[in-house]
């Protein structure tokens, strides 16, 4: 970043310190413009032509110099107009684990066509058609758990003549969650974790025979009763909310011997493990309790609770 861009970033951050929800619109006050090196050379060429015109008293050289100069100044307006009233926002962002790349879908739209735009660190030029939403996938690295806050994005272009650069700093808000990175502690949550008011004995043997039924198309493989299949050669599924094993009630209080972040990472790992095994699981954090359940949504609720857990104990 050169001096002007740094300066403009400070000004933009001062004006808009927090990310903005919804659609952002690039207005007059958010656009900055300066010469590119080619622009500097262009001015030098113009001056040389002017000097030649003065010295050789060539009026055509004057005309050429003035024509180039006026075109240069007018291209300023064209460059400005290119980026003006461009709207952007961030779409739905899939949560990821810390350390993994976050894909930020940036939606861009404009009432007039936008040419030769560079967004952030993309290496390819973007052209935006008029009145059509365009999606760009920005990939950033999510380091910390919690809400992912995007840095200011730089949108810039040297259209049309490549002699001036117009840029704008925008900060769309993203409610993207970064879950803690799962860490395998090497042990599973012990039986004492389990809540006392749960019938654990029922689940151990592998299922209540009364709750079996013949296989129907679409039954999840997690619910197939393998012992029956091995004995009779027919596929049967377990019915209802019969759980495959002991439910796990995971609690932060049981991990006080670990530092907080590692504890959260371990909990995360166990949650994933529980889901994979088809167990019911619940989560208990300070003040937050998530009842036993299963399924993707429940998993995301739990992971979200982990991600958003305050850093102060």
């Amino acid at each position: 970043m050169n001096l002007f861009e740094r300066l403009s970033l400070r000004i933009a951050s001062h004006r808009q310190p927090k990310p903005v929800e919804g659609w952002l619109r690039i207005g007059h006050r958010q656009l900055y413009i300066w010469l590119t090196p080619a622009g500097g050379l262009f001015i030098a060429v113009q001056l040389a032509i002017l000097l030649g015109g003065i010295n050789y008293q060539s009026n055509l050289a004057y005309l050429l110099c003035f024509l180039l100069g006026c075109m240069f100044l007018l291209s300023l307006f064209h460059s400005y107009r290119n980026l003006l009233q461009l709207e952007l926002t961030l779409g739905h962002i899939q949560p990821v684990f810390a350390g993994e790349p976050v894909v930020l879908p940036l939606l861009l739209r404009s009432e007039h066509p936008v040419w030769s735009l560079w967004v952030d660190e993309q290496t390819d030029l973007v052209d935006i058609q008029a009145n059509q939403n365009q999606v760009l996938r920005l990939v950033k690295l999510g380091q910390k758990r919690g809400y992912y806050q995007i840095d200011s994005l730089k949108l810039h272009s040297v259209f049309p003549l490549g002699l001036m650069r117009v840029w704008s700093w925008q900060r769309p808000s993203s409610r993207a969650l970064i879950y803690p990175k799962p860490e395998d502690p090497g042990y599973l949550p012990s039986a004492s974790f389990n809540s006392s008011d749960h019938e654990s004995e029922l689940s151990r043997a592998g299922g209540d025979p009364d709750s079996l039924r013949p296989y129907q198309l679409g039954d999840s493989p997690q619910r197939w009763h393998w012992p029956s299949y091995a004995r009779h050669g027919q596929l049967v599924t377990r019915e209802g909310n019969q759980l495959a094993g002991e439910p796990w009630l995971l609690s932060l209080n049981n991990l006080t011997h670990e530092p907080l972040e590692r504890a959260l990472s371990i909990l995360c790992f166990w949650l994933l493990e529980a889901e994979q095994r088809g167990l019911a699981y619940g989560l208990q954090l300070d003040g937050t309790e998530l009842a036993l359940a299963q399924g993707h949504e429940h998993l995301h609720h739990c992971l979200a609770a982990l991600a958003l857990y305050e850093t102060s104990r």
């Binding site: 000097l51 010295n55 024509l67 259209f159």
Partner: protein, 658 residues
Amino acid sequence: MNQTNNALTQPGVLLSLLLIQAGILIPHWPELPSWIFGVFLACGGYRYSVLRLGWPLPASWLKLLLLVAVIGLLFASFGRFAGLDVAAGFLVLMLSLKLLEARAQRDAMLMVLLCYFLIATSFLFSQSLWMGIYLLLSVWATTTVLIGAQRSHGLQRAWLSWRLSGLLLLQALPLMALLFVLFPRLPSPLWQMQDPSRAKTGLSDSMSPEDVAELSESSEIAFRVDSAQGSQQLANRYWRALVYGRFDGRRWQASQLPTELPYVLASKGPALQYRITQEASQQPWLLALDWPNAAPQHLNARLSSEGTIQLQNNEQVNNRILYELESYPAGQLTQLSAAERAAYLHLPKRGNPRSREWAQQLRQQQPSDAAYVQALLEFIRQQPFYYNLKIAPIESEVIDGFWFERRRGFCAHYAGAFTFMLRSVGIPARVVGGYLGGEYNEIGNYLIVRQSQAHAWVEVWLEQHWQRIDPTSFIDPSRVEHQLSEQQQQRAAGEGQLAGHLKLDWLSKSQLWFDSVNYRWHRWILGYDLEQQRKLLEQLGLANLSWNQLVPILVLGFVGCLAALGWWLLPKRRQVAPLVRCFQQLEQRLKPHINSITLEQPAQLLLLAAQYLPNQQQAWLELHQDYLALRYRPQTTPPQLQRQVLQQFRHLLKQRRQ
């Protein structure tokens, strides 16, 4: 992170760049040696093959070798390093070699900017109307390539880039015109450059018949002249350039009189004002009708005692110049100092004895000088003197050989011999070189005078003033030799009474029209210098402004126009519907009362207004009803309901403010 768009790999950009460079080089063709263009074609072709066929770019040592080789060739071609043509050739060569090492966006941009510079160098060689058109077209094309280099798809959809480029050009033209008119002009160049690449044209400071014969072949324009009092009266006149006062036995040279000698013009009579647009000649003389009043002020020129105007301080007419003069055709130069008399009587001690003897005999037979002059002219008319432009030079005794034996020649011979005859008998006389006649362009209302109209005549000191005698016009018209070409006939036609008449068919008519457009071009665009600017400013009422005052006006005017164009170009704030704006204002008004307003319908806002602004509660409720009617029962509402609702809404909003 490498955020550049490498234009050289985009479709069409390299090829377009090469084509445009070739187009820009075309006007340089007459001025530069052909091998330079060969180098360009070779480098261009190679670079294109690099793109298309995957050839490798040349190594550094090879590029260095080529650089040294072309510089050496350049020196060998021209024999020098100075001069505009060498500089232009050098630029073209550098552009060609740059092609061989162009690989990044930076190089592409550099080459395009060099193209702009190359366009400028063509103006050093020619500034005709065609060049003006060429300027526009080449700037348009080059800008298109520049725009294409910034696009992601290069020049694939080229018409988009063409269109934007054309738009930029059109929008820039009025601003350019404004700058052109108001930009301050310097009275003289920043530094004087004697350009060795340009040859001298026109009359030189020594006249020999061969030189003048050569000029008669040339149809190049020497100058154009028009007059506000009617350009037609400028036809068939004598235009003086310089005076050949010294004879060395073979050639007549420009006189070298002391500069302090005064120029005394008496009994002036009516004045004739005219404007001359003189082409570059690399010589110092300007032109004037007999007898000029003063030298043009804005040029560094001086009116000599002989009535000729010359640039001083070794300056030359290196570019086309425009100047205004005032002459008195009926005036008389009545002063002849001793120095001048001596100069205008001087003849070499030896040579042409027969002529001297014959002249003295003839003078003795005549009662006066004037009669002697008449007798000489009669001699030309009666004796078999012929007018012929193709004459072999006479080896020695040029006057004797011409007057008594050959008797064939043209103006230079006749003027020279005549002056010799006069000086032999003690009558001061001088040869005057200039132009006679010219072609009246009735479409443009001005006179074109070409080099082929160069002429020499005589001035003789008789009856206490200088009088013009043109001996060539006394040749019997039937003795004009017929092997003259059309051009020579025209020239002969311009001399004396042998006036011909141009037949105006459509071809020559269109030529005249084109020349008049060209002339306007010269006068208004090319001839626009300090003098013209001063006049234009006078007309606009901004006379007599110094730079200090003019520059702020220029800057203000320019910025004003630029701002106007900018305002026109940039999109306005999106027009918000008036009703929506009212709702927005209401929302602002209610903000202090309610923290966050999430509504499903805007109509609810009106209800909230009724709740929190109890002063106009009833009015708000009514407005609510009206709005619902407008919104949901448009068929049954009278058409002016929308306006009423809007007015009422605004009214209510205003009231609260009070």
